[in-house]
């Protein structure tokens, strides 16, 4: 059964990832990790996260995946020894200096080769295995044939199944360095591939890919024996993490039970695309991406305001959900509650109380505490979202 691996930009996101069905999370420390602008984890946070995950029977992988300059190496050995001492399950790295040090220091955690290393063939895999790598994330450019060949060697394979894509081979881009002096291989990527390039006497050149989703190939990748399904997005919100993990958890479980239908896939795809504000498509797995896998000018990105509130607790005596609001909602709105241990259900808002138990007609401000009468018990940390899609429209 493949592991569902979630991004965790901070401890709260880690908690939500596990709550909504992740088997493992990956995150970075405050040094040596890409996504330097995520909150990331202090040394104490990493220990807390590791203990927390292990208490749930789950795993943590720490990204040590920058491409080091000489001066960045200060403290690396000490950091790796620390990670070993607190029993993290593994690290994700691409720079040979990190991988060699793990070997030389005889550390115990597993080493996963990052997608930054652009692995596409079994001979390069042989090189990395000789250095103690036990798991690999292939280049996102890997087609099914390459995934299969590499998996057939017996190595553990982790593949991205959802999230943003680089235009470039990961690690093979310094557009950010050139335009902003922010080093993309040391966590500062300014995402220049999402900017417009001016071309004289022609339309602006855009090179931005749509996001990745591997929904049509979940069953196929399970059959190939993929060990870990990875979600991209350490900078994303708890709503995104909860939604994406929840959808993939349900799809993977359905695939394993042979109940994942095209209709169900379509339903989840709609939810995922809506949540990210971007279209997602399979990219290199089944073809070389073309026009349909990219965005061109004219795309309008509208901020998603579907996340209406986070359930803080359920008052069973008064049958009342206590909610921390996140976006505007009002009497008459049709919404959905979804959570880790419940089927998503539709709810029409007929009454709203504020924190003084006064009836109000609208909740306007994020972080307001409001109460909604709901007959069925809803667990803490479930979420309320705007209802956009009706599952029954997709399921015959």
């Amino acid at each position: 059964m493949p592991e569902l691996l979630a991004p965790a930009g901070d401890f709260e996101k880690l908690e939500f990832a596990f709550l909504y069905g992740a088997d493992a999370v990956y995150f970075g420390g405050q040094d040596f990790s890409l996504r330097a602008n995520a909150k990331n984890f202090s040394w104490e946070d990493i220990k807390k996260a590791t203990d927390y995950a292990h208490g749930l029977g789950k795993k943590v992988y720490v990204t040590v995946n920058i491409v080091f300059h000489d001066k960045d190496l200060d403290g690396l050995e000490e950091y790796l020894k620390y990670l070993d001492s607190i029993n993290v399950d593994g690290i994700i790295a691409s720079d040979i200096v990190v991988i060699k040090k793990v070997l030389e220091l005889e550390l115990h955690f597993s080493v996963c080769l990052s997608t930054q290393a652009s692995l596409l063939n079994t001979r390069a895999l042989k090189f990395w295995r000789s250095l103690g790598v036990t798991r690999v994330v292939l280049a996102r450019e890997a087609a099914r044939e390459e995934v299969k060949k590499i998996k057939d060697t017996g190595i553990e394979v982790e593949t991205f199944i959802h999230g943003a894509m680089c235009t470039s081979f990961s690690g093979k881009c310094v557009l950010s360095n050139y335009i902003t002096l922010r080093d993309s291989n040391r966590g500062g990527c300014a995402q220049i591939c999402r900017w417009d390039f001016y071309v004289k006497d022609k339309p602006n050149l855009t090179i931005m890919p749509k996001d990745l989703n591997m929904i049509p190939f979940i069953k196929d990748e399970i059959a190939l024996g993929i060990d870990s399904f990875k979600i991209e997005g350490r900078m994303r919100s708890i709503y995104y993490v909860a939604t994406v993990i929840s959808c993939y958890r349900k799809m993977i479980d359905a695939a394993l039970n042979d109940t994942l239908t095209p209709e169900l896939e379509k339903y989840y795809l709609n939810i995922l695309n809506r949540c990210a504000n971007r279209e997602s498509v399979p990219q290199f797995y089944d073809k070389l991406p073309g026009v349909d896998e990219q965005y061109f000018n004219g795309r309008i990105e509208v901020s998603n305001q579907d996340f209406l509130g986070l359930v803080l607790e359920y008052d069973a005596k008064n049958k009342m959900v206590i909610l921390e609001s996140r976006n505007y909602f009002k009497i008459g709105d049709e919404v959905e509650f979804f959570g880790p241990n419940m089927e998503t259900f539709t709810y029409r808002i007929n009454t709203i109380y504020n924190d003084l138990d006064e009836e109000i007609t609208v909740s306007r401000h994020p972080k307001n505490i409001v109460k909604l009468p709901v007959e069925r018990k809803i667990e803490k940390n479930s979420m309320m979202r705007l209802k956009v899609f009706d599952k029954s429209e997709f399921i015959v």
């Binding site: 000489d70 390069a124 235009t167 093979k172 881009c173 050139y178 040391r186 071309v199 090179i207 990219q294």
Partner: protein, 255 residues
């Protein structure tokens, strides 16, 4: 002092051969990205350049080419090639573009190859430090179009198809005052900085196997000027990161 020069024009080969201490490296047909001109294996009389990321089928094909040709050496990006060439009597130079940025990593790679190309994403001080402390002589970029991005996607084809434009495999573009040259072939797209990377001031470094000139899209006369005399009009070249350090974290911009 040996100069490694990429052959980017057929008409310049004889002139380059007449320059002392020059070694030529030829982009190998079907195994490179970013070079409008590539050479069949039987036309290569120097080192061969393979800068694509390869799959197993590509490596099998390359293995056949290597068995049937007597190249003096190979400059390559994909680590899978180490397995192909480990027992071959040829010079092996690892080109990792943006990933050869610290001394320890380069020294580790030097256990498997004869030399490594130092990344030109680095400052002069960083390059000097790496070259001085490397366990074998390294290859140092001193002139050429600086690679900024390598995509497997056919970005120009997709753009031209979407807007119904004529097919061009080489284009220029810019973001404000930063220019780009873009080259596409069947295996992907490379974005270069539009001005030629000029690090000729590094020519005095010791512990260098080759100083590399990579004059993609430059005319013959200018190539000869820069290779023979070290001259290049200022408005066509830029030292890029040689004197402008990139930052580790965004907060460092304010530091």
């Amino acid at each position: 002092m040996k100069k490694l020069v990429t052959v980017t024009s057929e008409t310049i080969i004889d002139d380059l051969r007449n320059v002392p201490d020059i070694v030529l490296v030829y982009p190998l047909k079907s195994f490179c990205v970013g070079y409008p001109l590539e050479f069949a294996a039987d036309k290569v009389d120097g080192l061969v350049l393979v800068n694509r990321i390869l799959d197993d089928n590509d490596l099998d094909e390359l293995d056949c080419i290597l068995k049937n040709n007597d190249f003096k050496g190979i400059v390559f990006d994909d680590l899978g090639i180490i397995d192909l060439v480990k027992d071959k009597d040829m010079q092996k130079i690892l080109l990792l573009d943006h990933l050869a940025t610290n001394t320890e990593s380069i020294n580790y790679y030097l256990e498997y190859v004869d030399s490594v190309v130092v990344s030109n994403d680095l400052t002069k001080d960083e390059i000097v430090n790496i070259v001085s402390n490397a366990n074998k002589p390294l290859v140092v970029n001193v002139f050429g179009l600086k690679t900024l991005m390598y995509s497997r996607r056919l970005l120009l084809t997709n753009y031209q198809e979407y807007y119904k434009l004529n097919k061009e495999n080489v284009m220029s573009a810019n973001i404000e005052d930063k220019g780009f040259k873009i080259v596409e072939n069947a295996y992907g797209t490379k974005f270069y900085a539009s001005k030629y990377y000029n690090a000729l001031e590094l020519l005095s470094l010791q512990n260098v196997l080759y100083f590399w000139y990579d004059p993609v899209l430059l005319d013959d006369a200018k190539i000869m000027d820069v290779v023979k005399y070290g001259t290049m009009p200022d408005n066509l070249s830029d030292s890029l990161f040689l004197h402008r350090a990139t930052v580790y974290k965004v907060g460092d911009l304010d530091a």
